[in-house]
């Protein structure tokens, strides 16, 4: 709750809305106690007094009634009706929506057709007809406004209920013997509630407007009772002669609706879990770079791609997540370097940091350099960096279904990848793409060019992803778990393809994975990451045969390997540390059976020994 309020008021506009609304509500509550003129006493000789007249702060209306008093009483009534109508519409809309969403099938169909009918009926006419049938009056206007808004809630809630009903916890509830009614009330409703609250908060304003509209057409409150809409309606004739009688209630409606909208937006944002992590912020084209001491822009190159003390953080509120800390790697020409680690170890962030693709906010590159042939990519101006992306460094991502644009044809996406970097006639570009699709062994490549990503199988999509990475003949390919989402038989094919391509084309590949089996088959060298740091690095065969870091050894040990038969696995106790609360010293120490007190004291350096390196004070075996 505290968190919620903090979030709500972090949004200054929402706070303004809340304060305004609260002030209005309080004002409305104390209206009967205020020393106001009787709102209904007419004094026709003193009609249309201008604002700031004596005894009438806001002037008088066409019958000489005090506008201030009518305004406050009217606001009270309008607000009450708006809230009540929103609540009523929410109640019935939710009932219909939840039932339709939960039961599905013909119940869903029937209810939704009914809702369609109500929606196809012009809502003002429906309200008008309802009021005409029931007679005018605020209560009937309320019923009409609530009725015409039921579809809004019903449709919203149904959509969410359908999604929730497909979730596994509903299945779990069924298995635990709960009946439909109980599941709806205890399982679905609590999850729908925030949405209802947000919907109500955003519709109250709308309800106030609509009730005002009905009153404006003369179908709302009964004279002499004031509500904002009827005040507007009564003042309409005086629009030209005495505009203040119109503007006063009009401005009040505006203020009410605006403050409700502000608060509603704030509520929606505060209740949206994604906003807590800043996930609805727009990611900038390049990760924010805030390096205290920018490294030299160019140094002699060790390999094609050199990472030099690369450090990337996520800053969410006051929390700092050290996703990547001081990572240095060298990828040689034609080499395949494996980067292995569990989720959260920072391997993907490392890969994305190279060309500034980490979403920012919340990502920040806080130090280090990523050099292509010695040139620091992170020091380049955006135009130059963009010119390198996809041309000299290309990416292959994990899940091609979400990483290929779902609405563009395969061919178009590939052609675009070429033509953002150089002018090439369309036909030539397409021919090149076709050629590449054949290279990655896509059957019927011609027709696949005009296919959409969802029309291909996972394996085919990933081949497209590979082909797309190759369109500009890049020097470096960064493959971020390219086979993780694939079935095992498909994975084998894709790995074989990658292996062949790199040998044929002399590609340098940074291959990110969590699977030692894959690393063992594909990579020349491997670097192991844990909690944002490289803990061990060296030639693949040598590390697999004799891991130096206890984490590497135990990670290898706890993965079952085919052909090992039925067995007890050597699990690692505990969990990896959260990267916003990293311990001093070795991050693995709390789970390590070889840890000694000094492991947890100071940061531990990567000790290099020949082709291998390890970040451990007490390695498994001394590195030669």
């Amino acid at each position: 709750m505290r968190l919620f309020l903090t979030l709500l008021f972090r949004n200054r506009l929402a706070a303004l809305g809340a304060v305004l609304l609260l002030a209005l509500v309080l004002l409305c509550l104390v209206v009967p106690l205020l020393p106001l003129a009787d709102p209904n006493v007419t004094d026709t000789p003193n009609k249309f007094l201008r604002p700031f007249s004596e005894g009438h702060l806001l002037g008088t209306d066409h019958l000489g009634r005090d506008l201030l008093s009518r305004l406050l009483w009217g606001t009270r009534l309008s607000l009450a009706v708006g809230v009540a109508a929103a609540a009523a519409a929410a109640f019935f809309g939710t009932l219909i929506g939840i039932c339709a969403g939960y039961f599905g099938g013909w119940i869903d169909n029937g209810l939704m057709r009914l809702i369609d009918m109500i929606m196809a009926f012009p809502y003002i006419l429906l309200a008008l007809a309802i009021v005409a049938a029931l007679g005018p009056g605020m209560l009937n206007a309320l019923i009409a406004v609530a009725a015409v808004n039921v579809p809004f809630f019903a449709r919203n809630i149904r959509g969410i209920s359908v999604g929730l009903t497909a979730r596994e916890f509903i299945d779990a509830a069924r298995l635990s013997g709960q009946g439909h009614a109980r599941i709806i009330v205890t399982e679905l409703l609590p999850n729908v509630l925030p949405v209802i609250i947000v919907a109500i908060s955003t519709t109250i304003g709308w309800m106030v407007l609509e009730t005002a509209g009905l009153s404006f057409l003369g179908l709302g409150s009964q004279p002499p009772q004031a509500d904002l809409g009827s005040m507007l309606g009564e003042a309409r004739a005086a629009l030209i002669a005495a505009p203040h009688t119109l503007i006063v209630p009009g401005a009040m409606i505006f203020v009410i609706v605006m403050s409700i909208n502000l608060l509603g937006d704030g509520l929606r944002d505060a209740l949206d879990p994604r906003l807590r992590s800043g996930a609805l912020a727009r990611p900038s084209p390049v990760t924010r770079i805030a390096r205290p001491a920018p490294p030299p822009a160019e140094t002699p190159a060790r390999g094609v791609l050199d990472l030099d003390g690369l450090t990337t953080r996520f800053e969410v509120g006051a929390q700092v997540y050290k996703a990547v800390s001081d990572v240095s790697l060298t990828l040689g020409k034609g080499e395949c370097l494996g980067l292995i680690g569990e989720s959260g170890s920072g391997k993907s962030v490392t890969a994305l940091s190279v060309t500034g693709l980490v979403a920012s906010p919340p990502g920040v590159i806080a130090g280090g350099a990523a050099r292509l042939d010695g040139v620091d990519l992170l020091s380049l101006p955006y135009r130059d960096l963009r010119g390198l992306r996809g041309r000299r460094i290309a990416y292959i991502f994990q899940d091609p279904l979400s990483t290929l644009h779902p609405l563009y044809r395969i061919g178009d996406q590939m052609v675009e990848a070429i033509r953002v970097h150089r002018k090439m006639p369309l036909a030539e570009a397409r021919a090149r793409c076709l050629d590449l699709l054949r290279t990655v062994q896509i059957p019927n490549a011609e027709s696949r060019l005009s296919a959409y990503p969802h029309e291909l199988s996972g394996g085919m999509r990933q081949r497209v992803g590979i082909a797309m990475a190759l369109v500009n003949d890049p020097e470096v390919i960064i493959a971020d778990e390219p086979t993780t989402a694939l079935d095992v038989t498909v994975q084998a094919q894709v790995l074989a393809l990658l292996d062949r391509l790199r040998r044929e084309r002399g590609l340098s590949i940074l291959f990110i994975t969590h699977d030692f089996g894959v690393v063992g088959q594909l990579c020349d060298r491997v670097a192991v990451m844990y909690a944002g740091q490289i803990v061990e690095e060296g030639p693949t065969a040598s590390i697999l045969a004799a891991p130096a870091h206890p984490y590497t050894r135990r990670l290898i040990a706890c993965v079952p390997e085919l052909g090992g038969g039925r067995r007890q696995l050597a699990a690692i106790p505990g969990l990896p540390p959260a990267v916003n609360r990293l311990p001093a010293g070795c991050a693995f120490a709390p789970r390590c059976d070889r840890a000694r007190p000094d492991c947890q004291r100071d940061p531990i350096a990567l000790r290099v020994s020949g082709p291998r390196a390890a970040r451990c004070l007490y390695p498994e075996e001394a590195l030669s």
Binding site: T44, K47, H62, G135, P223, R236, A237, A238, L239, I240
Partner: protein
Amino acid sequence: MRPQRLTRRAVLLSSATALIVAATGLRAPVLAQTPPGVLILGQVAEPKTLDPQAATAANDFRISVNVFDGLVRFRDGTLEVEPALAHSYDISGDGKTYTFHLREGIKFHDGSDFNAEAVKFTFERMLKKDHPYADTGPFPLAFFFSSVASVEAPDALTAVFTLTEPYAPFLANLATPTGYIVSPAAVAQHGADFGRNPSGTGPFKFAEWRANEMVAIEKNPDYWDGAPASEAIVFRPITDANTRTAEMLAGGLDIMVEVPPVTLSQFRNDQYTIVEAAGAHLWFLILNCKDGAFADKRVRQAANYAVNKEALVNNVLEGTATVAAGPTPAAFNWAVNPDVTPYPYDPEKARALLAEAGTPNPKITFFVTEGGSGMLDPVAMGTAIQADLAAVGFDVTIQTYEWNTFLDQVNPGLSGKADMAEMAWMTNDPDTLPYLALRAEAFPDKGGFNSGYYANPEVDELLNRARVSTDQAERAELYKKMQVIVHDDAPWLFVANWKQNAVATAAVKGLVLQPSFLLTLKNVSKA
């Protein structure tokens, strides 16, 4: 990516073009003056029909009165009847036979001749169910002529009406649009669509009707009573009074009728002229004399004393009405009793009467309409009346109804529903309103409009005698007696007689309003 991008560009391009065109239009010299010789008149609604027998609304009459003529008409500025298409008429001694002598050589706009057969056709179409063109109706106001037994055309220029019983208002009814003569040839040609293709003998010919935009009529140079002053008149329907006012102020109209009282002040300068005319209109409250507090005459009188009618007509209605004295509007000058004066505003007296009646705080349900023909500003007036009544001790609850529902509630009688209801009548004969709404024979269940169940045998007797008399002096005497009694019995709360108004630009000359509410534009011109 290819075709889609093109379409998106196309959309952007076309919308940009639209905006540019719009902007250019915005800069164009705005608001062409209305053309010379053509009057543009702001109406309150889209006319329903220009068929004079089928029309019921004053709004429709404003057009048809300029396209058609009756056998007789109201003399300029009065409610007295003078000959029109008939140059003279005779009434039999028993008051049951009317013989009209028609003018010669008049042609309908469609070129056919006006003659006695046309008169016979007009009335038989309306009155006889088996007439070949009876289905071109319905004719809701046919009951104005329900006393007509037959119409004969002994020769081309003589029309004879035979009535079932003497009926004094007959001539006045003939002067209303319901009695206007239509072209049989045009009815035959257009059938049910005659209402959108009218043809009469009036000073203007129907020219064009663009639904919801305008109805245009143009000069009939051969008009028997002299050619009209303007070339054409365009009637624009603008339902919203506020928009109508704005349009007038913005220069889009030459003449505007039914000016909302609150906006009158905008026109009180030398760019505009405001014309008004007291009409045969009465705005009153029906009081329920049968049950509830108003069954007591003293309470009814108290209500009449309690309401500040001066304030209503001067402040709420901005002087567009006068205080009503009794059941007969002052416009029927020959029939009005000058000794009957309005109940003065006297809250003390009202309280005293309430105390005397033993009901210091009577509970009153008050039916108010939101609008309606002749109802002026019913919600504001109702609200002001409610406040006045509350000030002397009445406990009044307002229930508003949209006009049709209101009529549906009020016309069947107030008993069991309400104590008081707003009502207004525009009539053209002093007989109509009291005869239909004050007699015991006119209780709602007997087909009348006496929704407040007022019954006074003396009044019934006076009205019955007046109706069958053809002597205006005798009728006047009877009506004057009736007014004294009704004023004292106070079955109604008499509030106002509307002075209808209109605003014209200073360039418009000759605009005069008639007490009959019929807007004759023959002599109006624009400089």
